[in-house]
Symmetry: C2
Subunit: 410 residues, 2 copies
C-alpha cells in the first residue's frame, strides 16, 4: 500500500492556509499534541490577557470592574461570539457553568415545554455525564430510553410520549457524527424537542443550530476552542423558546438582579439560564482564545480537519493496519475531527506513546483516541505521530510493565 512521504507532508504544511495560526499557540518542545479534543493548547495571547485581568481589572479596578470592565455582561458577550461559530444568532447563547450543569438546565427546560410527555431519549454511547445528568434531571418523572450504535435506533423509540432527545453530535469515542439537520427534523416531527451536545463539535466542525432549527444545545470551550482547563461551558436556547424556564433559578438569571427582591422573576431571553456569579478568571482564558476564533473560517477548519484525519487513517492502515482497527467512519459526512483506533491493550500503548511525546488519550475499554485540531496540528505532525505509533506497536515496547500503571485521569 502506498502512502505519503514525510516530504509530501511538509509540502502540504507549506501550502496550508491555516499554517500561520500554529505560531499563535504554545506547543512544548518534543511534543506532538493530538489531545486538543480533550484540552486545547494554550494560545500565546492568553497569559498576557490573564495578567491584564488579574492585575488591572481585579487588582486596580476591584469591585468597579463589574461595570467598568464589562464583567457583568461577560456571559452574554462571550456567548454571542461562540454563537458565530455554531450558527446561532445573537441573544441565544450564554457562557456559564459546566457542560454537565447546562445539560441539566437544557433538559429541565425542555421537559417544562412538553408537559404531559413522560419519556426522554439519550444515547448509551455518549460521554456518560450526559446520561448521569439525564438520570438526575428525570428520576421519578420520566422514563429514559437509550439508543445505541448497536440498536435500538432513534426511529425505534421515538413516539408521542417523548418530550426531549439529547444527543452528542460527535461521539467522544468513535468520532462518528450525526446529521444535525436530519435528526432534528426527525425528532421534531414526533413533537419532541432536540437538545444537541456540541462538546466535540464547537470549533471542530461547522455547526448551524439556527439553520437546523435546533431547540437547545450545550457545549464545551476547553477542547477545540482552547479556553483553558475547565473553561466555562455554553448553552443555546432558540429564541422561539423564550418561555422556557429551568430550576437553577439563581440571581444572575433574575430579571432585575440588583433590585434584591425576595421573589424570583426570570430575565427575558437567554439570561434566565444564568445562575450564580461567573468564575471570571476562567472567562478571561476563553476571551483570549476567542480573539483567534473571531478570525477563523470554519470551512477552512473543516477542510483541513478532514485532510488530517484522512492522512492519519491512510498512514495507520498502511503501516500498522494489522495491529489496530480504525473505528472512526471513513465517510466524511459522518466523521468529526478525531480518529480512534481499537487495540485490545490500548491503555499501555497510549502511555508508551505519551512518553515518546505523542499525546493522545485512552477511552475505556479499548480505544486509543487522537484529536486533530487544524489550528496547530500539521501534516508532518501526523506523519511523525504515526511513525512513533508504528515503532511502539511493532516493537511491542508497550508491553514493558511501567506502561500498565493506571493514572487517576486517563
Amino acid at each position: 500500500m502506498t502512502f505519503p512521504t514525510r516530504d509530501e507532508c511538509l509540502a502540504l504544511d507549506a501550502s496550508d492556509p491555516l499554517a500561520a495560526y500554529r505560531d499563535e499557540f504554545v506547543l512544548p518542545d518534543g511534543v506532538i499534541y493530538l489531545d486538543g479534543n480533550s484540552l486545547g493548547a494554550l494560545p500565546r495571547r492568553t497569559a498576557a490577557h490573564l495578567q491584564h485581568v488579574v492585575t488591572q481589572e481585579w487588582g486596580q479596578g476591584l469591585i468597579r470592574s463589574w461595570n467598568d470592565a464589562g464583567w457583568f455582561e461577560a456571559p452574554r458577550r462571550l456567548g454571542d461570539r461562540i454563537g458565530t461559530l455554531i450558527g446561532a444568532g445573537p441573544g441565544q447563547v450564554v457562557v456559564c457553568d459546566s457542560t454537565s450543569i447546562n445539560i441539566f438546565k437544557a433538559l429541565t427546560a425542555a421537559l417544562g415545554l412538553r408537559p404531559g410527555r413522560d419519556v426522554v431519549i439519550g444515547d448509551r454511547d455518549t460521554f456518560p455525564t450526559d446520561l448521569y445528568m439525564m438520570e438526575g434531571a428525570t428520576a421519578g418523572t420520566h422514563e429514559q430510553r437509550l439508543i445505541s450504535a448497536d440498536g435500538p435506533a432513534l426511529a425505534d423509540v421515538l413516539d408521542d410520549r417523548v418530550a426531549a432527545v439529547l444527543l452528542t453530535q460527535v461521539d467522544y469515542r468513535t468520532g462518528r457524527m450525526y446529521d444535525m439537520a436530519a435528526v432534528t427534523a426527525q425528532v421534531q416531527a414526533a413533537g419532541a424537542l432536540m437538545i444537541w451536545d456540541l462538546a466535540h463539535s464547537a470549533g471542530a466542525v461547522p455547526v448551524d443550530l439556527d439553520g437546523c432549527g435546533a431547540d437547545l444545545a450545550v457545549g464545551c470551550t476547553y477542547k477545540y476552542l482552547n479556553g483553558g482547563p475547565g473553561a466555562p461551558a455554553f448553552i443555546y436556547v432558540a429564541t422561539r423558546h423564550e418561555d422556557a424556564t429551568q430550576p437553577l433559578s439563581g440571581w444572575h438569571g433574575h430579571a432585575d438582579p440588583f433590585a434584591f427582591t425576595p421573589d424570583y422573576s426570570p430575565a427575558p431571553g437567554i439570561s434566565r439560564f444564568l445562575v450564580g456569579t461567573p468564575p471570571l478568571l476562567s472567562y478571561a482564558g476563553l476571551e483570549a482564545s476567542l480573539e483567534i476564533w473571531d478570525r477563523v473560517d470554519m470551512a477552512d477548519i473543516r477542510a483541513k480537519s478532514l485532510a488530517l484525519t484522512d492522512l492519519f487513517i491512510s498512514l495507520v492502515e498502511a503501516r500498522v493496519g494489522s495491529h489496530v482497527e480504525v473505528v472512526t467512519p471513513l465517510d466524511h459526512a459522518v466523521r468529526g475531527s478525531q480518529v480512534s483506533l481499537r487495540h485490545e491493550d490500548g491503555y499501555a500503548p497510549m502511555q508508551a506513546l505519551i512518553e515518546r511525546g505523542v499525546i493522545g488519550d485512552f477511552r475505556a475499554p479499548d480505544l486509543m483516541r487522537f484529536g486533530f485540531t487544524p489550528l496547530y496540528v500539521g501534516y508532518a505532525d501526523v506523519w511523525d505521530a504515526v511513525d512513533v505509533l508504528t515503532d511502539v506497536l511493532t516493537t511491542e515496547v508497550w508491553r514493558e510493565p511501567q506502561y500498565a500503571t493506571r493514572l487517576a485521569v486517563t
Copy 2:
C-alpha cells in the same frame, strides 16, 4: 462626643499583629477599600501563581496536568484547606460551582434525607439568590416558610413538617450574625436539617461547623477569602450524612469517573457533590490566596474585625450621627465584619464616596455598606474613610446630579 484622633489610629496600626499582611495585597493608590465583603482584594502572589498555572501546567503540561499538577484533586484539596477556616474536618468540604448551585445541591440533599416532611424555611432578609434557589429546588414539592427580622421568628414556624432550614449566618445587608450553635440545635431539635450559608462568614468570623453539629453549609471564596472575581464556591456536608445524594449527578461526582459506565453511581463521601469539569484558572486564584489564609489565626481576624467596626461605628456616630443610622448590631456577639448605614438617598452618597476613593457599596433600598477585612484594612483607613464620608454628607455634594446615574451593578 469624643472619638480617637488619626494619630491614635496610626498607633493602633503600628501595634496591629496582622499589619504585615497588608503588604501581601495590591491596593490601588488613593483607594480605601471597604468592599472586600463583595470582592476581596488581589493578593500579590496571585499573578505569579496564575502565570505558572497558565504557562507551565496548561502550556507545557497540557492534558498531563490532570495527574501531574493535581488538577483532578483540586476540589478536594482546596476544600480541606477551607475546612480549616470553618471548623470542618477533612473530607467534608469541596470547592466547586457557584454558591447558588451549591445551595441547590444542599437543599435537594437535605430534602432527600427527610422524606415525608414537606416544608422548608428560609429568611426573607437573606441575599435573594438563596430564596431564588430554594424556589427552584422546592417548587411543587415543598411549602416555603420565610422568617424575617420583623417576624415571624424561627420558633414560630419550626414544626415537625420542616425538612430543612437555610439561613445565612451573617446578613448581607445589616451584618447581623446568627448564633450558629444555638440555631443549629433549635432546628435539629425539631428533626430538621440545618444548612448554613457562610458567604459573609468564611474568612470574616470564626466558624466551627463540626463543633456546632451543622448538617450542610455553602459559601463563597471571592469575598473575604480573596480568591478572585467569581472564584469557585464551596459546599460542606457532615460525614454522618454520607448517604445524601443530589440530582446534579455529573461525572466528577461519580464513583469511578474514568470507567465511563452509562449508569451513575455516586462517589463515596463529599466527592458526590461535584458535577462537571472545574474551571481551573479560577481555582488557581483561590489556591494562591489560601497560601495566605493557611497562616492566619481566625481569632486574630475576629479581634481586629471587631476593633475596626467598633472604631467605624464610633467615628460615624460622633461625626455624622445625625445623617445616618447605624443598622449593624452594636453587640459583638451578633455582629459580622461589616457595618451598614441607613441613608434615605444612600445610592448617591455612595457614588460620591467611591469617586473620592472610599469604596463601599449600596444595597437597596437604603443601605450604605462597608466591609472590614482585617488582612488589609487598617485603623487609619477607617479614620480617613469616615473623614471623607463626613465631607460628602455634611457638604451634601452627593446631591450633584452625576451621582444619581445608576450603574448596571450596584
